[in-house]
């Protein structure tokens, strides 16, 4: 039989209650921090996964910010294109009236003035600013995207793009999902048969009473109108895509958050129960230690 010695008894007792204390401290940390993963060594592989998830979530957050920013820009472009559509529709109405042979010269002069006003309005719309540069300037932010040449009486004679305004603004909403959030205005505001030139031609044709030219302008206004509607529907579907993508990412982010919580968060009830059990065991150890260590034959010797 193994002898037990006085030193052993006290040493074992100290060791035992220390072990209880260590475990109590562990559960207490879990309860007070609410986390079971407090340091990498608590579970190294879970820790790596948790950090991975955090990186994913930070990326998703950035994509969500990009979506927000993209939606803002698409809205601005949509509003501006709607205004431009209004201009186009009004100009087409005027052209329709202009080709009517019952209209006299004086009326046509009046129409020419209105078209000129539309032209000025279009220029304002086309050159509008945003917080970063110009709405239709692409990546060219040095100057307003459309330069104007005016005649002696101050009327617009021609409009040309300032530098290269074809640069696209792109927002990433996923690793490989790039969405162009700037409107494509080539062949609409610049390039072949653009709205500026068409309005200038219409104004001049109304002034000179040239029916053929008015007819020609009417034709290209119809085409331009279709093009604007096409661009607007494209913007609409991009907006929808961004909204869908946002929902997807929100969902993904939430799923990651749930997984993160599974990995990191302590089950509070469980921790509390363990803590209580440990405390009871600790008290029992203390009581027993006090009882046994106090007992000695010396108490019975006279």
């Amino acid at each position: 039989m193994l002898r037990t010695t006085s030193l052993n008894l006290s040493r074992n007792f100290i060791r035992n209650f220390n072990q209880h204390l260590v475990r109590i401290a562990e559960y207490q940390e879990q309860v007070s921090s609410g986390k079971k993963l407090n340091r990498p060594s608590d579970n190294p592989s879970d820790a790596v996964v948790a950090l991975n998830i955090r990186s994913y979530r930070s990326k998703i957050e950035q994509y969500l910010r990009n979506i927000e920013d993209g939606q803002l820009r698409l809205n601005l472009a949509e509003n501006a294109l709607n205004d431009i559509e209004d201009v186009t529709v009004r100009a087409r109405d005027i052209a329709l009236m202009g080709v009517n042979s019952t209209v006299n010269d004086a009326d046509r002069q009046g129409m020419a003035i209105e078209v000129n006003q539309l032209l000025e309005h279009l220029l304002t719309l086309a050159n509008q600013k945003t917080t970063d540069g110009y709405l239709f300037g692409g990546t060219q932010t040095e100057a307003a995207p459309f330069d104007v040449v005016r005649n002696k009486s101050g009327e617009i004679e021609s409009v040309a793009p300032h530098g290269d305004i074809s640069g696209k603004l792109v927002r990433y909403v996923g690793p490989d999902n790039a969405v162009t959030v700037s409107a494509d205005t080539e062949n609409l505001l610049y390039g072949d048969q653009n709205l500026f030139q068409t309005l200038i031609d219409l104004r001049d044709a109304l002034r000179s009473g040239d029916q053929d030219k008015i007819n020609e302008a009417l034709g290209s206004l119809n085409e331009l109108h279709d093009r604007i509607l096409g661009e607007l529907s494209e913007i609409g579907s991009k907006s929808q895509y961004l909204q869908d993508r946002k929902n997807e990412l929100d969902m993904e982010s939430f799923e990651y958050l749930e997984r993160l919580s599974d990995l990191e968060d302590a089950d509070l009830t469980e921790s509390l129960i363990f803590l209580q059990q440990e405390e009871i065991a600790y008290q029992a150890a203390l009581a027993m230690g006090a009882e046994i260590l106090r007992n000695s034959m010396v108490n019975f010797m006279k």
């Binding site: 986390k35 407090n38 955090r54 930070s58 950035q62 910010r65 932010t141 927002r171 010396v298």
Partner: protein, 458 residues
């Protein structure tokens, strides 16, 4: 036929023997809580018989020896296992320090700063001319760099602490070796097999206990009572000679290399003990972490610069580095002077127009590119797995230290069951010897009365 005096002599011897018993019991009780003390036991022997021709008479009791209760097998086990414990425990201590520095789970670590760094580029890409976005990229990069500096500095500090501890430990070990050699000398002149000097032997074994924390210890008992002390087959103490350890420190490529040497300058690797644990930390484990951190910093600098140098700054320049190109380690990473001087020098335009931020998007996308470990991990992943590795390291050390503590505790209990004092046992002995002492004095009293009777007859 023995005389009355012979009975008196028996009584006298018995008195003396019980007195010695009480002496030893008293000493045991006094040392009951001294962990280095070995319980002593008086071994009695019959005194030489008296030959009267016809009868052979017993002449009472004698103390043969005062035996020191000790089990060499348990001692040997304790010294080996305690050395392993010393190795794990020191590993655990330093691993916890390393882990503290790399605890990214609190959400303020390098991995989070890396994420914020990448996102800052994307935001700048969305608003290429916004000066606050440019300052944000610069600020995030500076935070990242200073985190690299901090982690590198922490690892180097911890390594330095380990080195200091190693140095003071080696001094202590050498002191112990000299003390053991000195005790060997005293024991060989002062202790024999039949009359051992238990106090000196306990003192020596206590030193061996302490030594076993630092290095693995085996001993060979010599006939003259001395011990030869060995560690991993190398002699540390032979008779009265101590062979001291030395430490060698030399610079290789700017990094200090530490080696443990025997007295003769031979480099040695021990099988256990705190010294070897410290050497492992200083020479292998911490440098491995430093190296990985450097790899991450270096690749970050090179990859970001490679892209950044292709793009145009706000004033149309190209070929500008974002990070300084002459500082490619975690301890030195910093922004290039161009970026430090003016955030307009952050280059993100691909077509040269100021409103183009597509280059920043390319830099953001670096976060998903597997540029490290032979194209198997991204910069983020490389750091995350470094954190995991450090966690694994800390866990490994912690578990091993805990398990080994249990092993040592078990052996300690067994060893102590032989050498430890049980007070109840001693109280029983106390009463036994007291009674025997009383009985012996009764014998003397009776002899005295016999003498009186005889004298009265005269």
């Amino acid at each position: 036929m023995p005389g009355i005096q012979d009975i008196l002599a028996i009584g006298r011897r018995a008195l003396l023997a019980q007195q010695i018993g009480l002496q030893v019991t008293g000493n045991n009780i006094a040392n009951a809580q001294n962990p280095d003390y070995s319980r002593q036991r008086v071994e009695f022997n019959q005194a030489p018989y008296l030959d009267t021709g016809m009868f052979k008479f017993g002449t009472g009791v004698e103390v043969q020896t005062i035996r020191r209760m000790r089990d060499e097998i348990y001692d040997g086990q304790f010294w080996l296992e305690n050395a392993t414990l010393g190795r794990w425990e020191v590993g655990q201590k330093y691993a916890a320090l390393v882990e503290g520095a790399f605890n990214d789970l609190r959400g303020t670590g390098l991995s989070q700063l890396l994420n914020e760094f990448w996102n800052a580029w994307m935001e700048l890409g969305n608003h290429p001319e916004d000066p606050s976005m440019r300052r944000n990229v610069k600020m995030r990069a500076e935070q990242l760099a200073s985190k690299f500096h901090y982690l590198d500095g922490q690892l180097r500090d911890i390594r330095r602490q380990a080195k200091q501890e190693l140095q003071s430990d080696i001094q202590r070990v050498n002191q112990i070796l000299k003390q053991i050699a000195q005790l060997n000398k005293e024991i060989s002149g002062n202790s024999t097999a039949s009359y051992p000097n238990n106090t000196l032997l306990d003192e020596r074994d206590a030193l061996l206990d302490e030594l076993s924390k630092y290095v693995d210890v085996t001993i060979r008992q010599n006939e003259n009572g001395t011990v030869t002390v060995l560690s991993s087959y190398h002699v540390l103490v032979d008779q009265t000679m101590a062979f001291e350890f030395q430490i060698r420190s030399e610079n290789q490529n700017g990094e200090e290399q530490i080696a443990l040497l025997l007295y003769n300058g031979e480099e040695v690797e021990l099988e256990g003990g705190k010294l070897q644990g410290l050497i492992d930390l200083i020479q292998e484990q911490i440098p491995a972490f430093l190296n990985q951190l450097d790899q991450i910093a270096r690749n970050l600098i090179l990859e970001v610069n490679k892209l950044h140098e292709q793009f145009y700054t706000l004033d149309g320049r190209t070929g500008i580095s974002f990070f300084a190109t002459d500082a490619l380690t975690a301890g030195t990473i910093q922004l290039s002077t161009d970026i430090q001087n003016d955030v307009a020098n952050i280059a993100i335009s691909k077509n040269g127009q100021k409103g183009d931020g597509s280059g920043a998007v390319d830099i953001f996308k670096l976060r998903d590119q597997r540029v490290l470990n032979d194209g198997t991990s991204t910069l983020n992943e490389a750091f995350e797995s470094l954190v995991g590795e450090i966690g694994q390291f800390a866990l490994h050390m912690e578990r091993n230290a805990e398990n080994q503590a249990n092993v040592v505790h078990m052996i300690e209990n067994r060893r102590s069951s032989v050498m430890g004092v049980n007070l109840e046992e001693e109280f029983v002995n106390l009463i036994r010897y007291q009674n025997a002492f009383g009985a012996a004095s009764k014998v003397i009293q009776v002899v005295d009365e016999m003498m009186q009777t005889v004298l009265a007859m005269v």
